[in-house]
């Protein structure tokens, strides 16, 4: 044994003394090591006890063993030690008996030991007690014997009185709990017990007192001197009634290690059972006779899926199955007992007609002698795995089909060997013939890549091989039929355990058509974009809530906003909410999803711009609603429309004028003609000398004159009407007034009238002199002609200017007229209002024609008996 330890010492490289210490500390043998000068190097407790039997003096390290130290030691001890140290002998064996109140016999061995490593020479003294047999045979009345026995035991012996107070404790208590005997004596047995164990200990103690002489055992924790609780096992016997003892005798020992191991075991068992009962896998343990030893919860729950009978410990596994399976099972178990693992699948259809597949594994159980003493059956549901497996089987077929459907070509390339495999579609897609020679095939493929893309393709493949990078590249390929195809190649590399690329897998797709489509789309998009950007019409894209998403430059310009400003405006901020047009638009939009119509949009500066909008509600791919609105500024259109309307009105008015003119002229021509006809019908042809005939001829002449006058007037009117673009010249009001006044001076004189003319504000206009003279003459003669008989005529002529017009007012203090009655007819042809004067109803008609022909207008204010004011508006020339 020492030899093997020495061997282990050599390999573990521990020092010799440490080794000795280790060796001896683990034995019950007492030992002492001294050096060659008999100086004590080390000793253990057992030796110490032995020493104390013979000596009063203390045994201390570093002290020297001398002859006289051993009071009652036989001389042979030191003399033999000297012999060993002097190398007179290797080993000495001797026996020493202790002859006290009881006789103890010790066998002592002394061995020379040395260690070059520690530069040590000395002796090892080992002491073994040989007392046991003789001790038990001895009579127990010898108290010393017990004392020795007790003091050399590893158990602690204690005595308590009837009140369970310690009256005696053996010295080992110091070793186990660290307390001295004195510290324990007088204390109650329940003290120092762990609080959790107190109740249980109390019960135990009560039982001890109640049941004399019965050995009762308890396990509990006691606090040691360091304050740590340690597990002890205490055996106690009530000997109170024994006259020679009169105490409760207890002996306890330290079971801390055992307890910890027990706990670990229990814990492990619990964990195991927890594990077994919580796992999805089911376990059944069979013994060598195929009887069920144990099984877990999963096995119990699932057993109806596989077996006819419920699981039960002790029954044979063969009882679980149907008879026709027995033969199969027996051969299966034969294999298992030969040491093989067998797998078996069963299928089970549940109440919902769902099929479940289970895999059962039968494993042999070996005992420590490597014999098979049982079988371990585990069952697992593999339905999903099974499905997957089946799918994997289908996978390659499916992949092929998928490749075909997706028109994917596939190529595998081994960079080391340059070998490659291509799918049929690969050749078809590229339009390349399949060649037998790999090298030629490679160079053919390489040559057909579009020259501009060659570098790119080479680099991507190189990167994939060298760095293992995945690639996704588009390149052009000139296929055999002369077409340039766009190919999308996606590839990845497969590496071995050293990270070296062993295979390159690439799929190919002909994306020529989609590429073309994308290009077309992009062109379309850019076209649309340019349309959007350059459109004269405004385009606004807004969300349902009115947020403007996008607006083109035209609309920004139209409404005076920068693009960034417009984006922050809500579309309804641009609308006049109160307008009925807007309400109508919202309604129509809601009902039909679109709107075409005219609106007013608010310019940034606050005024409204008339626009024509075409808006359509639309949804994008994500279901968001947008309103696309095309806006056309119709300010100009509106202006033109306004002008057109005015023009139309003017034309209509002119037309009415002309119609009126034609009615009136025809009336005025018909009247004299009718007179002539009447006169003719009255003429007495039978008697030309009839007196009445003379009168008729006079009237005839009169009527003819009337007709002639009417025709001349009409010609004058027609001249004015048919020649609106009469030549303009610079005409002075003062000049014209002076000229015209000459014609009315006589009349004015007769009526004692006066004229005040003031042309200080405006004196010159661009106009037709003849027309202006005619207008002035008409105005002045009317003012004088229709003067009031109650007062002298006073006429005021004033000229002034506004933004658009030069205005000349003719104000008189004449008769005046009831405009409510005559306004409509005032300027009409042949309308006369004064029966007693020579007016023909032509003057104001002519004046108005002359004014309107040059773009002007004429207004009148009058009050009967007060006077009349005519305002003539001459349009200012640009």
């Amino acid at each position: 044994m020492i030899n093997s330890l020495v061997d282990s010492m050599a390999s573990n490289n521990i020092s010799f003394l440490n080794f000795i210490e280790k060796l001896l500390s683990e034995t019950n043998t007492g030992w002492l090591v001294v050096d060659d000068n008999r100086k004590i190097i080390n000793f253990n407790g057992a030796y110490h006890q032995f020493h104390n039997l013979f000596n009063e003096s203390r045994l201390d390290i570093e002290t020297v063993l001398r002859d006289g130290d051993f009071k009652s030691f036989p001389d042979s001890f030191i003399s033999n030690l000297k012999r060993v140290l002097n190398r007179e002998t290797e080993k000495v064996k001797l026996q020493i008996d202790y002859l006290g109140s009881l006789t103890l016999s010790f066998s002592i061995s002394m061995v020379y030991i040395s260690s070059d490593e520690d530069n040590f020479e000395g002796a090892l003294i080992m002491v073994q007690k040989k007392e046991s047999r003789s001790a038990t045979t001895r009579k127990p009345e010898n108290e010393d014997f017990y004392k020795i026995l007790i003091n050399t035991s590893t158990s602690v012996y204690q005595l308590t009185d009837a009140a369970l107070v310690f009256t005696y404790t053996s010295g080992a208590i110091e070793e186990i709990l660290g307390y001295t005997a004195a510290e324990v004596l007088g204390k109650n047995a329940i003290e120092l017990v762990h609080p959790d164990d107190k109740e249980h200990v109390r019960d135990w103690l009560i039982n001890i007192r109640r049941q004399p002489e019965k050995l009762l055992t308890a396990e509990y924790r006691i606090k040691n001197k360091q304050g740590v609780y340690i597990w002890v096992e205490n055996n106690a016997r009530n000997m109170l009634s024994d006259a020679s003892i009169k105490a409760i005798v207890m002996s306890f020992r330290n079971i801390q290690t055992k307890k910890v191991a027990d706990d670990a075991l229990i814990h492990a068992e619990q964990r195991l059972s927890l594990l077994l009962n919580n796992t999805e896998e089911s376990f059944i343990l069979l013994n060598s006779r195929l009887r069920i030893v144990t099984y877990n919860k999963a096995a119990q729950e699932r057993s109806p899926f596989f077996y006819n009978v419920e699981l039960q410990s002790g029954i044979s596994v063969l009882d679980l199955i149907s008879k026709n399976e027995i033969a199969e099972y027996i051969s299966l178990f034969e294999q298992v007992f030969k040491g093989k693992e067998i797998e078996r699948e069963t299928k089970f259809v549940d109440a919902n007609k769902v099929a479940h597949v289970y895999s059962h594994t039968f494993r042999p159980l070996f005992n420590s002698q490597e014999d098979i003493h049982g079988v371990f059956i585990t069952s697992t549901e593999i339905t999903e795995r099974k499905k997957l497996t089946e799918e994997v089987a289908l996978h390659s077929d499916r992949l092929k089909t998928a490749q075909k459907i997706a028109r994917l070509g596939y190529v595998e390339f081994d960079p080391a060997t340059k070998n490659f495999f291509c799918s049929e579609l690969f050749y078809e897609i590229l339009g390349v013939p399949e060649l037998l020679d790999n090298c030629r095939q490679l160079s053919l493929l390489r040559n057909m890549v579009h020259p501009d893309d060659k570098e790119l393709v080479k680099k991507e493949i190189q990167d994939a091989i060298v760095h293992g990078k995945d690639f996704n590249l588009e390149f052009r390929f000139n296929s055999k039929d002369g077409l340039t195809k766009v190919i999308l190649a996606m590839g990845g590399s497969e590496k071995d355990e050293f990270g070296k690329t062993v295979k390159l897998r690439v799929t190919l797709q002909d994306i020529t058509d989609s590429k073309m489509a994308i290009l077309a789309l992009q062109t379309l998009e850019s076209k649309f974009k340019s349309l959007f950007e350059n459109s004269i019409d405004g385009v606004i894209l807004s969300k349902e809530d009115g947020d403007i998403v996008s607006a083109n430059p035209a609309v920004c310009k139209m409404l005076g906003y920068a693009h960034s400003e417009l984006i922050n405006v809500k579309s309804h901020d641009l609308l006049d909410i109160d307008s009925s047009l807007v309400a109508n638009m919202a309604q129509v939009q809601k009902d039909t999803g679109s709107y075409i119509g005219e609106l007013f949009l608010k310019h940034k500066k606050g005024y409204y711009v008339p626009v024509e909008v075409t808006s359509v509600l639309m949804k994008d791919g994500n279901g968001n609603c947008y309103l696309s609105t095309i806006i056309r500024d119709i300010t100009d259109k509106k202006k033109i429309e306004g002008e057109q309307k005015a023009l139309t009105e003017e034309l209509l008015k002119n037309n009415q004028d002309l119609q009126q003119f034609s009615f009136i002229t025809s009336h005025n021509l018909r009247a004299p003609v009718a007179n002539l006809l009447s006169l003719l019908s009255l003429y007495n042809k039978d008697n030309p000398l009839d007196e009445f005939n003379q009168l008729l001829i006079e009237k005839f002449e009169e009527a003819t004159q009337q007709l002639n006058q009417t025709l001349n007037d009409l010609v004058n009117v027609l001249v004015i009407k048919s020649n609106p673009n009469i030549e303009r010249e610079t005409v002075s009001f003062t000049d014209v007034f002076i000229e015209v006044k000459k014609n009315v001076d006589n009349l004015l004189y007769l009526q004692k009238g006066s004229i005040k003319a003031n042309f200080s504000q405006v004196d010159q206009i661009q106009y037709s002199r003849i027309h202006l003279e005619s207008i002035f003459l008409n105005m002045l003669s009317n003012a004088i002609r229709y003067s009031s008989p109650d007062r002298n005529p006073e006429i005021k002529i004033t000229s002034y200017k506004t933004e658009d017009w030069v205005i000349v007012e003719f104000e008189d203090n004449g008769l005046g007229m009831d405009l409510n009655r005559y306004r409509d007819r005032l300027f009409g042809l042949y309308q006369r209002f004064h029966g007693h004067k020579e007016g023909k109803g032509l003057g104001l008609y002519m004046t108005r024609s002359q004014v309107t022909a040059m773009g002007g207008k004429i207004e009148v204010e009058s009050e009967p008996g007060v006077g009349t004011k005519f305002k003539i508006f001459f349009k200012l020339q640009d």
Binding site: Q660, S662, F663, I664, S666, H667, N668, R670, A671, A674, N675, L677, S678, L679, S681, L682, L695, K699, E702, A703, Q706, R821, Y830, R832, F833, H834, G835, G839, G841
Partner: protein, 128 residues
């Protein structure tokens, strides 16, 4: 024996007045012909007639006259007609070709017809 006793002619043109007067008399259409030179004179004449007497049976009315034209006369006459026991029949006598005038004439219930100038014997024969 003339067809009617009193005829009023409201007309500004002297030749027309002369011619009408002559024709009416020649065709024994009326015993008496009174002429007024415009509407205003006509209304003044009618207003001046004794209360409760008969108004002229027939009035020939020109439209286009100074001071007060035919339409004005019709409106004014409407205001004084209540004083007459029997109301006259009014015939518009005009050279007008304006359709508006024909339409306007229909608004006045007293207006019997439109007679285009010149007044003829045939036209008078149709008035009974």
């Amino acid at each position: 024996m003339a067809k009617f006793t009193d005829v009023l002619l409201v007309e500004d043109d002297p030749i027309t007045i002369m011619v009408c007067d002559r024709i009416i008399k020649m065709s024994s259409f009326a015993e008496r012909v009174k002429s007024c030179e415009n509407g205003k004179v006509g209304i003044e004449y009618l207003s001046g007639l004794a209360a409760d007497c008969s108004a002229p049976t027939i009035i020939f009315l020109d439209i286009n006259m100074p001071v007060m034209n035919g339409w004005d006369f019709l409106e004014e006459f409407d205001k004084i007609k209540s004083r007459f026991k029997s109301l006259p029949r009014i015939y518009l006598l005009s050279s007008t070709v304006d359709p508006e005038d024909y339409k306007k004439a229909k608004k006045f219930t007293l207006v019997q017809d439109f007679i285009s100038k010149p007044l003829s014997k045939e036209a008078l024969q149709n008035i009974n």
